[in-house]
Amino acid sequence: MGRIALHNIRKAYGAVEVLKGIDLSINEGELVVFVGPSGCGKSTLLRMISGLDRPTGGTIEIDGQDVTRRSAADRGLAMVFQSYALYPHMTVWQNMAFGLQNTRMPKAEIAERIADAARLLEIEPLLDRRPGQLSGGQRQRVAIGRAIVRRPTAFLLDEPLSNLDAELRVSMRAELTALHSRLGATMIHVTHDQVEAMTMADRIVVLRAGRVEQVDTPLNLYNVPNNLFVAGFIGAPGMNLWPATPETKGSFLLEGGTKLELPHLDLAGPVTFGLRPQHLRLDENGPLTAKVTLVEALGAESVVHAELEGGVRLLAVLPGQPDLALRSQIRFAFDPAALHVFDAQGQRVKTG
């Protein structure tokens, strides 16, 4: 229970196409995170799945059944809204009971389900309060509780952590993940925060401008980004991206003038090199010479901002607390195997 498949989902508001044909299949019990910059269509996609909005084209299947034309209520899904959407005039208990009462469920069963959910989420003392008397984190739990009591085939979570402060967000993140493994239900989680996506997801769906850029496990996305967008979007601080042109076989000229010898690469036409800041190390004989412009010492590691020839920016994360003077020239080396290569269209080039 809880398999969701999307086939060529499209959504247009007038002439503006927000979703441009999305194919996706979500397995039973999976925690899938939709991530992407704002306006990429991730929330719209979630609303299509929920049934609150109808797609302009394509079909949605849940457990093998076509539900595209079915109303939101008949899809057996539960949604946690960004603003929680708790009914302000009802107590926590009433909020959780409201949806169940619609289905004319026996009172005893309603009470039992709510008691179970309240125990699971540790909100038992709050059942008689109203949402206005709860803290942000408590409201969040109630909103999740309201979804849990319905025993849905899948949970849809629309940026549920974005209204919490930073500290609470980290702990709720862990709790949600734990909750997922306990319930074993399918969850779709929408966020614009790639750290949230990396830490929570079984699989991440990266969306941009209404298209799926890549679907994979968090580490695969990090290690083998399919294209420039995913490479730049996943990982913090962001990947160094340097446009370059091949000069002779195995020799490349970076934008700005730095020369790079990479004998294992035989490429024609302009490319972009990608290198994670963590893969750079200080080396007096390294191929990259850069001028230090800023050092952010975080204690365990230091983020070094520097400029290559021609003012091209370089970002390096170095372990410990190296003593680097501002405006000094330093040299970096890296393992050529860690280098990502993208072609002129921004697609990954296999390098063996």
């Binding site: 109303s71 009914y87 109203r130």
Partner: protein
């Protein structure tokens, strides 16, 4: 919206500003002499003087007025009679029959007004709520529809009264329509029941848009995602209305009920132009009674009118307090639960 408002405001503020410029030098001197306190007094004085003389002072001496008798206008020429005027207003031999009352006109007016208030406010609020619900839907040209219902609100009561007097005339459009579909014409304004209903109908027609707009603002303040949450739960429309919309609209509804009650108790303009209180005394309402006893009739009795107006003011204050108390209790209940 914003630029239009600003332009309008600027057009109005400009001439005022010019006059204000002339006052600059003398007022600087005044400020130097009297300090900030003097300026505060200066800013408050015009409004407070007018307010004091024409609102507050009359309000206070009204009580004195109601304890005097005679037809003289100024208090100094009037005789003190204590609670005599109230006694005259309120005394009845048999309270089930207004004809046995000393001031049977007053009791008729009270009875008419009471029925009017209950029926008119009930209908008005129901229709306004329904209209607001419909205007809150995703309909094309919503601003047009919203403005349309508001149009009669701007018309003067005299115009409203005359428009409907013309339509409800014996040879008017409504009777023509009745005859057209094969029914007998009705003498709307000369039959007691119909005339009474007509005053209720036209006051609803004239005020509906105002209340519908306030309720619409209340509806629009209810977050959309509450409705989406309800939709996810498969809540039927009726239950959405009773369990979500209505409770969340309650604060606005209370405000609207207070305002419409207070206005209904004072009903005068439209009804007076439409029926003049007739036929007989079928549409004689309190304000008209006060107006006639105090000003229009040959046997003017300002003291009696004043006593009646104080009784009406008392009702208005009680209504307001009851409603305020209700809404306070609602709030407290909300916090405790």
């Amino acid at each position: 919206m914003k630029p239009l408002a600003s332009i309008l405001g600027a057009v109005i503020a400009a001439p005022l500003g010019w006059i204000a410029g002339l006052a600059e030098a003398p007022l600087r001197l005044w400020q130097r002499l009297t300090g900030k306190g003097g300026m505060i007094a200066f800013f408050l004085l015009p409004n407070m003087a007018i307010f004091g003389v024409f609102v507050l002072f009359p309000l206070i001496i009204n009580i004195v007025y109601s304890t005097t008798s005679g037809s003289a206008l100024f208090l100094s020429d009037r005789d003190f009679v204590g609670l005599g005027q109230y006694e005259r207003l309120l005394r009845c031999d048999d309270y089930t029959n207004t004809l046995t009352c000393q001031e049977d006109q007053f009791w008729t007016a009270v009875k008419n007004t009471a029925v009017f208030v209950v029926v008119q406010v009930g209908l008005l609020i129901s229709i306004a709520t329904a209209t607001a619900l419909i205007l809150n839907r995703e309909i094309m040209g919503r601003s047009f529809w919203r403005a349309m219902f508001f149009f009669p609100v701007l018309l003067s009561p005299v115009v409203v009264g005359l428009i409907w007097r013309w339509i409800l005339d014996r040879n008017g459009a409504l009777n023509a329509a009745l005859v057209g579909v094969g029914l007998d014409p009705v003498n709307w304004l000369l039959e007691r029941g119909w005339a009474f209903a007509a005053t209720i109908g036209i006051t609803i027609w004239a005020h509906l848009g105002f209340y519908a707009l306030i309720l619409l603002a209340g509806l629009q303040a209810i977050p959309r995602d509450l409705y989406e949450a309800a939709e996810m739960d498969g809540t039927p429309p009726g239950r959405v209305f009773w369990r979500i919309t209505l409770p969340l609209l309650m604060p606005n509804l209370l405000v609207v009920i207070v305002l419409s009650l207070i206005r209904a108790v004072q009903v005068f303009d439209e009804a007076y132009v439409l029926t003049g209180g007739g036929p007989g005394t079928a549409t004689l309402y309190l304000t008209q009674y006060i107006y006639e006893v105090g000003f229009a009739s040959l046997l003017k009795n300002p003291g009696l009118a004043s006593a009646a107006s104080i009784l009406m003011g008392g009702v208005l204050i009680v209504l307001t307090l009851v409603q305020l108390g209700l809404s306070n209790r609602n709030e407290k209940k909300g916090k405790q639960k």
